[in-house]
């Protein structure tokens, strides 16, 4: 009964009313959406911000003299301040809008990496990264003759900190690490990682895609050099993301994409001069409504509070893990001491894709596959996992439905 009482301090019913999709039915069953690590659902205030924008004040931003353009620019720029506070940055010019976490990391690889790394330099990449924090470095490494060094992970799915300390050296120029692993749920000790990296003058690229909506984040305290995330994993829209970078790094980096807004002047006679940060990195018309909705998503999350969210999701995860472990032949992949609300598992003799399909027949949406983290699968010598990932709008009852559906899977396949 303890669990029940704890849950009741969090008014999840009221919260669920804000998410229209949660009343959807799938195969005649209520939708149980526990695929939040892939993308979260959107509450009504965020959805409404879109039609409000396009019904009232849409225009292209920057440099427009007319009212609509000023209103749009205002709303668009104000979100920078919100984002700044959301991740504890010191200066809103350190907030660059991108089209997603993937775009943010590519920006760093293409701008910082291409400008400042040289043949023989090393990039340390953890074995638990999402492809988004591997492939850009791999492409850069091939282009410039760099070496990718892999930081191993333990059987629990934690970063092997001893190995990290012995692999890092004066050759290391970049450490690429996620704050939270989407495949394992592991929360990494970023502060300790940056401390060690900085002793070797390496910069740290933190992929925060799975972190920002689940815990308080303070980039100044973490002392990371870059921090990337996507709006769609924190109640916002797809196609919008953020790159935070330390001002002194951003200032010296060359631009990424060329186009309007990122220049001060363009002349075939006197050449091109670039704009200041953040605009230097924001070429062309940005996703204006998307950014405004990112702002609404932040406000929504702030109203609930990330501490409460983390506490509640943690309870959900613990409860789900406990129930899952009672299932014969179920093995949890990723058993780090500090975890976000991700439950990855394999079930003896049943392929994850079959689990996914059977669960879908019960209305339960989980993800099956390699979760864009094939090196994690390789590390654990499995082709794929099933992954349930919880958000603060999920309930204990939904966990029960999910667990019961898993038991059905066993009945079908054993």
């Amino acid at each position: 009964m303890l669990i029940k009482e704890q849950f009741s301090t969090f008014d999840v019913d009221k919260i669920r009313d804000d998410f229209p999709i949660l009343s959807r039915r799938i195969n005649d069953k209520p939708l149980v959406y526990v695929d939040n690590a892939a993308s979260t659902q959107m509450p009504k205030p965020v959805i409404d911000a879109f039609s409000d924008y396009h019904s009232r004040y849409h225009a292209n931003v920057h440099r427009g003299v007319h009212t609509l353009s000023q209103e749009a620019t205002d709303a668009f720029e104000k979100v920078r301040t919100l984002v700044k506070s959301f991740i504890g940055a010191g200066d809103e010019n350190e907030i660059i809008y991108t089209s997603g976490a993937t775009d943010s990391i590519n920006l760093v690889a293409q701008s910082y990496g291409r400008a400042f790394l040289n043949e023989g330099d090393e990039i340390l990449v953890s074995n638990m990264e999402h492809h988004a924090n591997i492939v850009p470095w791999d492409m850069l490494a091939k282009e410039k003759g760099l070496k990718i060094v892999v930081i191993p992970i333990t059987d629990e799915g934690e970063l092997d900190m001893n190995a990290y300390e012995s692999l890092i050296s004066e050759k290391t120029r970049i450490v690429a690490i996620n704050h939270v692993s989407n495949a394992l749920g592991t929360i990494n000790p970023i502060k300790e990682i940056t401390r060690i990296a900085h002793q070797h003058n390496a910069v740290v690229m933190v992929d925060g895609a799975q972190a920002v909506s689940h815990m308080e984040v303070n980039v100044v305290d973490l002392d990371c050099d870059f921090y990337a995330f996507s709006a769609h994993k924190m109640l916002g829209p797809t196609g919008v993301g953020v790159l935070y970078g330390k001002r002194e790094l951003l200032d010296k980096m060359p631009p990424y994409r060329g186009g309007g807004d990122m220049i001060l002047s363009v002349s075939f006679n006197t050449g091109v001069t670039f704009n200041q940060v953040p605009h230097k990195f924001e070429a062309g018309t940005p996703g204006i409504a998307g950014v405004i909705m990112l702002g609404e998503a932040i406000k929504y999350i702030n109203t609930i509070g990330r501490d409460s969210i983390a506490a509640y999701e943690n309870e959900l995860l613990e409860y789900a893990t406990l129930q899952a472990l009672k299932i014969d032949g179920l093995r949890v992949i990723g058993t780090a001491k500090k975890k976000a609300s991700v439950l990855s598992f394999v079930l003896d003799g049943v392929h994850p894709h079959d689990i996914g399909t059977v669960l879908d027949f019960h209305g339960v949406a989980i993800r099956s596959g390699h979760h864009c983290a094939q090196p994690v699968m390789e590390r654990f010598q499995i082709p794929a996992t099933s992954r349930a990932s919880f958000a603060f709008y999920n309930t204990k009852e939904e966990v029960d439905i999910f667990i019961n559906a898993l038991k059905e899977v066993l009945e079908v396949f054993r």
Binding site: N27, V350, H351, P352, H353, D354, T357, V358, F361, G369, H370, M377, I382, P383, A384, V412, F413
Partner: protein, 147 residues
């Protein structure tokens, strides 16, 4: 769900037929779906009159892909290459929804049980992996990769 995971499929999944390495084959190919991690090898031995004298497979995969491979081997043994190709084409068209087996005559027999994947686009590749691999083997390609 019952529609797809019928007894026959579950049975072939649990006890796949012709599930062994063939020593004395004429054709062999490795099929790989990198997005699921599924991998299987199909072996073919050709007999008189271009008939498929023997066909077997080994590998890993989900129930759909394993049952599909298993039922493919039982269905094709003894068929001519020509006949096998026709069935391959019909199976592919059924899985991707291009052939409505309720409306059109076909040679799929029990394989018609896989018609249900048509409604599960994410699983079509599971059902067709073995068949694509068979086709590759017959055409002399050592391996194929499906997305």
């Amino acid at each position: 769900m019952k529609q797809l995971y019928q007894e026959l499929i579950l049975d072939h999944n649990k006890k796949p037929r012709n599930f062994h390495v063939m020593e004395d084959f004429d054709h062999e190919s490795l099929g790989h779906n990198p997005l699921c991690g599924d991998k299987l090898v199909v072996y073919i031995k050709i007999g008189e009159g271009d008939t498929i004298e023997d066909v077997s497979f080994v590998g890993e995969g989900c129930a759909i892909s394993k049952a599909s491979a298993s039922m493919m081997t039982t269905a094709l043994k003894g068929k001519t290459i020509q006949e096998a190709k026709v069935i391959y084409t019909q199976f592919h068209e059924m899985s991707t929804g291009k052939l409505d087996i309720a409306e059109h005559p076909h040679q799929l027999g029990k394989l018609a049980i896989f018609a249900g994947v048509r409604d599960l686009p994410a699983r079509v590749k599971c059902a067709t992996l073995a068949w694509h691999t068979l086709d590759a083997a017959l055409e002399g390609r050592k391996s194929i990769t499906t997305e």
